[in-house]
């Protein structure tokens, strides 16, 4: 059995989080599963997809798995652009956009990846509608992740993506 990895550098994709108040600070939360992302440790994927339990099929499994949609998702910027507007519209939570490192077992798809392990690489926070004190506190809280955190002036999904794309270029 060959246990050697195929690659030795993480894949870097784009994704979106929500900034949520957790205890006395602000943390990153996944959008769909609302999983809190830890500081200083990778997020480990767990399959939470709904399954009708009919033995022996649909047993719990390590994430990501080929036959499932589980794993930590990230995508290219173009895919994020199509995904962001609906997420901006559905919630009052503060969206955070950023790059994420993915590693461990990774499934590469046409427009993105599903991975076993992930950690943010840089974060962009739209602060236009937050007010100065809240924005400052949120940026400060998110810097606990130990990665660059930058404010964005845009308040719409398109403006945010345009700004992020320009910064990332």
């Amino acid at each position: 059995v060959n246990d050697a990895p195929d690659y030795v550098e993480p894949v870097v994709g784009w994704r979106m989080w929500y900034a949520v108040e957790h205890g006395a600070t602000t943390s990153l939360s996944s959008v769909v599963q609302r999983t809190l992302w830890p500081c200083g440790a990778p997020l480990v994927a767990v399959c939470r997809c709904f399954r009708v339990r009919v033995w022996p099929f649909n047993r719990s499994h390590d994430a990501p798995a080929a036959e499932c949609r589980c794993g930590i998702h990230a995508a290219n910027v173009a895919t994020l652009r199509t995904y962001l507007p609906e997420r901006f519209a559905w919630t009052d939570l503060v969206p955070v956009v950023g790059r994420v490192s993915l590693w461990g077992l990774v499934y590469e798809h046409e427009r993105g990846w599903r991975a076993a392990l992930a950690y943010p690489q840089c974060l962009f926070v739209p602060v236009a509608e937050l007010g100065r004190p809240r924005a400052a506190q949120m940026l400060s809280d998110l810097r606990r992740y130990g990665v660059p955190v930058r404010p964005l002036d845009g308040s719409t999904a398109d403006a945010v993506i345009d700004e992020v794309s320009a910064l990332a270029a």
């Binding site: 690659y7 461990g104 590469e108 798809h109 690489q121």
Partner: protein, 46 residues
């Protein structure tokens, strides 16, 4: 996000940890001061 069809699967084991090491929130403990080495003095003649 709709990622489309899976293309391939691989494993990645980064040489460098993608998780940054935390910066010093608190000032680092100052290094212990080294006591000066005792200087050997020649014994005074009585």
């Amino acid at each position: 996000m709709e990622l489309g069809k899976p293309q391939k699967v691989y494993t990645i084991e980064p040489l460098e940890d993608p998780v940054p090491t935390p910066g010093p929130d608190e000032p680092a403990e100052p290094p212990l001061e080294r006591r000066p080495e005792p200087v050997e003095m020649p014994l005074a003649r009585p």
